[in-house]
Symmetry: C3
Subunit: 463 residues, 3 copies
């Protein structure tokens, strides 16, 4: 076109001016309209890209259900394997329905500073889900991403309550956690509730998901009491080793993999930060595994696989809150501390508190969840969305952020303990929480489900 | 530029007019050209995004091969584990080659209303693959996405024929299914064939993939007869429990995960609907698991893990055809019905028909595939690509769609039964279909492959 | 706007010219600015899309760690399962930290033709990482993608050294491989080093990752010597079968899945070629599995699952270098040859060389890695980024490319043998490389880690 116009240069000024009328007008119009069309298409494509990224991240998080199922199955005895698998399957299945019907509305629906009161069954009356308006993706994609988080919180509990819980009691618990206990915490922090207003930050859920699950698990483990044979009359503790470490290790690898949906995906949109978040997540997990291995080596004389695996998870749980707000170097420190913490926490819960948590869920998700949340107050740098977190204590931001983080950790701890104890008390007094001693000895697979995990293959005594 | 132009305002009209000649021409030209460039880049990026989405979805579907391998291995006996794994590995390997050479051309190549007659080895003579022109992605990406579907259909069969089929006979079957039986059905429905023209809709393959695989599996199971020890002389049936439920459960989680490639990926392009499709898919799976668990609890007295797992798969199979066309609420109903159906179907096939289907493939993929396809005729709403499906019976669309769906279900059933029986008859009369009784008793691992699945670890008698 | 302008046509020329001054100026300015804005947004979105694709591909590659862990665990004995899992976990954990601190700088940092001398801890002083400037994604995303490759190289080694290596010796080895041996090879080929300048091409790492890992593994297996009971006094070899083939098969499926991140992801950006690369990758894997099965059938009388699984891996390793440069048909040939090669290589290493490589790592990753790299010189077509590889010998390109490929294969072989022997010699003379005979007999799980893989479930004698 450029060349054509040059060629007609000699054809005089008048013609051009007239041409301007006939040509430039439409051209202006077409150009402006085409530019606007382009801008709209660019925006549309970006929203689709946001959706593709978030939904793929959600798929990865969903696979974490398999990871939890394997870790919990592997770390417990063969005679309870079907029961653990069933609980994990049902956590996600029941959770999917309940969180769609109720939980998502409580968590993100418009309401008050404590809980949402609208948006059940994803019903959007306009403005119902303003708390999630910062993400451009369709409402259903938001629900789906949040659902897989809710299911994670519920699943954490099954590990701590393994090998002695009545299945129907567990089902009842699962409904209440997904409908109420978890969504209320979520509303406080991610749904525009009072902790969000306080300046509390939890990027991907060290507290929202992991601590919530773990503190409820703690009440469950306490209300149930220890497994038969776990503690001796003199108060000393026996190790009850898991029956399938390869499955447990596979579970940890799958969880690690799924965490790349969990943390980077919490952007709920396609942004360049996902690279940084993947790196902090991975460094913390690696540092946690190394630290836990070294500590276990020092403490027990040999490098312990279970501890190294739990160390990786500890690092992942710890970095979940700060992953977007901290540097790679800080991530290594946060993960290392989590890896050390988890070993001591497991020993402390087992030997000192004498609470029987078969897979170490309270230590991994509770203690390290709290640590990760607090670490935001220490290591945060105002890098993700400048003007949000501000800097933490170690980066010149003073104690403001740290205090907000501590307040959040404490508030969620109190909420989960109160509601957890109340819930399990009611279940205990009504449908029952624990199987009989005889059922426990024979195993929940036969007694509760009428089947064996390894039929024609499994050989073990009734211990 | 705006400010610069303002500053030269006083420099007179004449200069401007001349300037228009020298400047506006090129500017017009450059602008229009830049706008067109932008539009082209936007389009290019969208095509790349479509490809990224579809290829990632295909990867997830490919992983379903692992899911099927685990489900089938876990639900059968240890002595046949290597054989099942080998069959699954070879389904995908042989299928990859055959579907590239032949199957894809039969399915999507230009031809007639019954099958394609061109496009072998992906040879595109221009217009060869018009039936897939609606998707913008490169031909090879289309082939890859369709391949993982074809392999799924083949793999479904191995479960129903487990623990007694001669390996070489199975290989022969696998070639024919991937080259012919499956692609012909695919051509009818997705390749522009007669069922597509009839107004039959199957979004992601309840019928194309799942029913096709299952009805062929049904003929295989019938032609083989039951495993030794499955039925008593009085006609009553013995349960032959699987040897590794944790693997089976892991398989179901992996299948569930892979289904998020299967259903949302069937858009074969990046669109916002993927969020909706993920949600309907997930709700149906969850509802299926819950429903099957409850029904098994009622029927057998205890909540059965195998049934709950199959219920999840049943929900997934059921929602596969309607996933894009129905609401979230309808998905819950469709999945629940599938979960109920699968329990009764398993019992019916086992006790009434006395067909030995070790993993319940006919019930899960056949019965629930048919149900899902029919449910389109009941629950469809014209939401995905308005003007395509129209509404189903329950949404005011009348019986038109329902009748087309029923026709498709019936036609595919007949096609699979005829070709399946013919194929297995020929195999039986030539290379042989079933191993000897002695081989079956000792296990196919030792007899057919000269190895054990759990060497130095496996302990089981010859039952 | 078009219509509006038409309506004002009669309002005279003068007004228009004046209007041009007041309107056209700003409009020109706004248009040009909007067009530039659009162009910038398009570019931004493309970079985000590049990042999303690459980071997701990296996640898939990360999951390969689980695949390797399962393959190695499944193909070895139950008494060493925890040890193998621990080594795999630590490979990735230690590797993550070391490659961040040191390895990535050695590999991609500015330096000389032999190794990088800058960029430690991802420190970019401007131009530090020019060797990766061809990819648009953020530096941390590049590191993450390259990290999962580095970890793969390290993990390959653990299989060949399984069941007899001292854990602490293995840890020391893992640090050096990730910090030095692997990154130097990487620098030569991908970091702008001397092999890159020579015209050597390895798209996704047949040599960089797989051969490097395998040749180091070879030195390790030689320095360790065979497992107790592997070779008889007369020099004949005993098979020591793996204890869990289902886990090994699952591992192969996961590796196959992860390879779709490995090969197509090596574009480090979203391009349409990912479809083609997925297809060549998949065809080669399938052909490898088929070929290895057929050869094992011919050689051993029965189709062997272990060989078919290794055949799939062989095909994948073989296609890794040429995946982007060859046609689908060539991929089938390359994969088939790899599948044949791997069977003979396993037999050759075991019976002729009498080197005890429990999982066949040297054959799969070394021999087939070399074959794949050489195949580029034979089958390459100048299709991926025209003007780069040129054509190989079979496509009229002459021997130039082939000679460069042979030079690279040889150079990496020599480098790995020298550094591998030196490293293992130092470890042997200092902290020790092999456990005692007694420890080996009882198993490394109890002796090195104080635990069992299948507690209360495992029953096997001390063989």
């Amino acid at each position: 076109m450029f060349k054509e116009l040059k060629r007609i240069w000699p054809k005089a000024l008048a013609l051009f001016v007239i041409g301007c009328l006939g040509l430039a007008g439409p051209v202006f119009a077409q150009d402006a309209s085409s530019i606007a069309d382009n801008a709209e298409l660019i925006q549309e494509n970006k929203v689709i890209l946001d959706t593709v990224w978030t939904i793929l991240a959600a798929f990865l998080v969903m696979l974490m259900q398999a990871g939890f199922a394997l870790v919990e199955t592997g770390f417990t005895r063969a005679k309870n394997a079907c029961n653990i698998l069933m609980k994990n399957l049902m956590d996600f299945s029941v959770g999917t329905i309940i969180y769609w019907a109720i939980g998502f509305g409580i968590m993100f629906g418009a309401g008050n500073a404590l809980f949402g009161t609208s948006g059940f069954f994803l019903k959007d009356l306009g403005g119902t889900f303003d708390s999630l308006a910062w993400s451009t993706i369709p409402l259903e994609a938001k629900y789906f991403f949040q659902l897989v988080f809710a299911a994670t919180a519920a699943t954490i509990v099954s590990g701590a309550m393994a090998e002695r819980t009545k299945f129907i009691g567990y089902l009842a618990f699962s409904v209440v956690v997904t409908a109420l206990i978890y969504p209320v915490v979520g509303h406080w922090i991610w749904g525009g509730g009072w902790l969000a207003n306080l300046g509390f930050w939890d990027f991907a859920g060290s507290t929202v998901v992991h601590s919530t699950g773990a503190w409820v698990a703690l009440t469950g483990a306490i209300m149930l009491g220890p497994r038969i044979g776990k503690y001796n009359p003199d108060g000393s503790s026996n190790a009850i080793p898991g029956h399938n470490l390869p499955l447990a290790a596979l579970g940890v690898f799958i969880l690690w993999f799924g965490w790349f949906g969990f943390n980077p995906g919490s952007t709920m949109g396609a942004v360049l930060d996902i690279g940084h978040i993947a790196v902090t997540t991975n460094l913390a997990a690696a540092a946690g595994a190394c630290a836990a291995m070294l500590v276990s080596w020092k403490l027990f004389g040999k490098p312990d696989l279970s501890m190294a695996l739990n160390g990786a998870l500890a690092g992942l749980v710890g970095i979940t809150a700060p992953c977007a707000f901290v540097s790679a170097g800080s991530a290594v420190i946060i993960g290392s501390v989590a890896g050390v913490l988890v070993v001591f926490a497991v020993v402390f819960v087992d030997k000192v508190l004498r609470i029987d948590d078969p897979v170490g869920a309270v230590s991994v998700h509770g203690v390290c969840g709290a640590w990760g949340t607090i670490s935001v107050g220490l290591f945060a740098q105002d890098i993700f969305a400048p003007g949000t977190t501000g800097n933490g204590l170690f980066f010149g931001g003073g104690a403001k952020l740290l205090l907000a983080q501590l307040a959040g950790v404490g508030a969620v701890f109190v909420w989960c303990l109160i509601t957890g104890f109340a819930l399990f008390y009611i279940i205990k007094k009504t449908i029952g929480l624990r199987v009989s001693g005889n059922e426990e000895l024979r195993g929940l697979d036969i007694e509760e489900h009428g089947m064996e995990a390894y039929a024609g293959f499994q050989i073990f005594s009734t211990e």
